[in-house]
């Protein structure tokens, strides 16, 4: 059986590294992108089976990319796990868990998330 392909899009390179190592250990094939535009291009090149998406990123944030993917017939079926930020403590930022939940992502996990929780959430999409 072919490996499921998970794309991680986050501008924290250490988080991308940590999570990708754990997913690879679990048998997933992992793609990495470090901002919203790079993530969009990676999706065009190869459609992921699941997308792990950060919200606060340069060039294009996770909310915008999520909305665009869900508005496009070709990509709306890609499940998205949105990693939301700590914005509840910073009322002037829009990068909050509540804002994340107003998107059409399938799953919302507030940061900081431990890697195992994230891997479990990824597993849950593939039964």
């Amino acid at each position: 059986m072919s490996k499921k392909y998970v794309l991680i899009v986050d501008d924290d390179p250490d988080l991308v590294e940590t999570v990708s190592m754990m997913l690879e250990d679990k048998g997933y094939e992992v793609g990495k992108a470090y901002d919203g535009v790079e993530g969009e291009e990676a999706i065009k090149q190869r459609r992921p089976d699941l997308l792990v998406l950060d919200v606060m990123m340069p060039r294009k944030d996770g909310y915008k990319l999520c909305a665009e993917l869900k508005a496009d017939k070709a990509t709306r079926d890609i499940p998205i796990i949105l990693l939301t930020a700590v914005g509840e403590a910073v009322p002037t930022t829009s990068y909050t868990h509540a804002q994340g939940m107003s998107t059409e992502a399938e799953e919302y996990i507030p940061k900081p998330v431990d890697s195992k929780t994230l891997v479990d959430a990824v597993d849950s999409f593939f039964g």
């Binding site: 590294e17 914005g87 507030p110 900081p112 431990d114 929780t117």
Partner: protein, 333 residues
């Protein structure tokens, strides 16, 4: 020659660097450096530390926000030399994927443009260099010449993408008020050797060539730090996989005139990753104190981007992991 493709570049400007050295008390990293900075809520953007020999002399370099530099240098109590270098920038490139040639090319590029390196530290994904603020623009241009960044056509493209985010980021960092520090994960890597070298600024290109040669032999380098000495040299400590002694020694001696300073084996690396670990006060102190409480002695430490990497004797790995797991909390939904 084909350029190495990298995916990103981060810049932290307006910092201050403090370098301290001490002979004779290794525990001073916790009580003489990390503790007073944490108590005064001074964020550490960068920390590199090396135990130079078995007599517990050590060298530590750290960076803070510029306004905290003078206070930091006066708060540090190590009984040795403390130097303050104001107006520095931290430039981080990623991912290095443990390829020595990424650091090699970086050192080579900076050296050939005569941009002095004031410090270096790696995280699991990135390698960070400290340069003076006056050299920052030139250093970024040099990185764009040395590496390929497919996401950005030019330095100005990159500047445009990052402008305006700093204020928001500072607010988010300031919002962390944890009684127990939450982390994403602790990753272990064992069967490593720790090498340390002392290199003149003028020989950094040669060190770069040596690292590139190691990379061409598929050697993996999960850790590197570089700290400035008062004599305008740099002490480097780097980890490579165990069991390659003669080849590594030969590579260094064929590129560098200075001999290998020290070689420890086996050592293990622990990578602790958490949100904004490279920007928040108290994290390094919590970690160093936890290890010290279990009698684990650090051979080397790096804190940059969002991780802290520690190098310890392999025989102390179990105690170190237990200490860290008891101290930090893995987040959950």
């Amino acid at each position: 020659m084909t350029k190495i493709k990298l995916r990103g570049l981060k810049l932290l400007e307006g910092g201050a660097q403090v370098v301290s050295s001490n002979a004779g008390d290794h525990s001073l990293l916790a009580k003489g450096i990390c503790s007073p900075l944490a108590l005064n809520k001074i964020n550490l953007n960068f920390l590199a530390h090396i135990a130079l020999d078995e007599s517990d002399s050590f060298l530590t370099a750290l960076c803070t926000e510029g306004s905290a530099g003078r206070a930091s240098s006066s708060l540090i109590e190590v009984g040795g030399v403390v130097d303050l270098h104001e107006n520095v920038s931290i430039l981080s490139v990623f991912p290095h994927d443990q390829r020595p040639q990424v650091t090699g090319l970086l050192l080579d590029a900076l050296a050939k443009k005569k941009i002095p390196l004031q410090g270096m530290a790696s995280s699991p994904s990135a390698v960070s260099s400290i340069v003076s603020t006056a050299e920052t623009e030139g250093a970024i241009a040099t990185l764009f010449e040395a590496f390929e960044f497919p996401a950005y056509r030019s330095p100005s493209d990159w500047y445009a993408a990052y402008e305006g985010k700093e204020h928001l980021l500072q607010k988010i960092i300031a919002s962390y008020r944890e009684k127990v520090v939450r982390i994403y994960d602790i990753v272990q890597q064992s069967d490593l050797e720790l090498w340390s070298l002392i290199v003149d600024q003028g020989d950094l290109a040669k060190l770069g060539e040596g690292l590139t040669a190691l990379g061409q032999w598929d050697r993996r380098m999960p850790f590197i730090i570089g700290l400035p000495t008062p004599e305008n040299k740099l002490v480097f400590a780097l980890c490579l996989s165990e069991g390659q002694d003669s080849h590594i020694r030969e590579t260094f001696s064929s590129h560098l005139e200075a001999p290998v300073l020290a070689h420890y084996s086996p050592v293990a690396a622990l990578f602790i990753h958490g949100p904004h670990f490279g920007d928040r006060y108290g994290i390094a102190h919590t970690l160093v104190r936890a290890l010290e409480s279990r009698g684990v002695s650090l051979r080397a430490l790096a804190c940059t981007v969002s991780s802290i990497s520690v190098i310890i004797r392999e025989e102390e790995l179990v105690a170190a992991v237990e200490a860290l797991e008891a101290t930090f909390q893995k987040s959950s939904r």
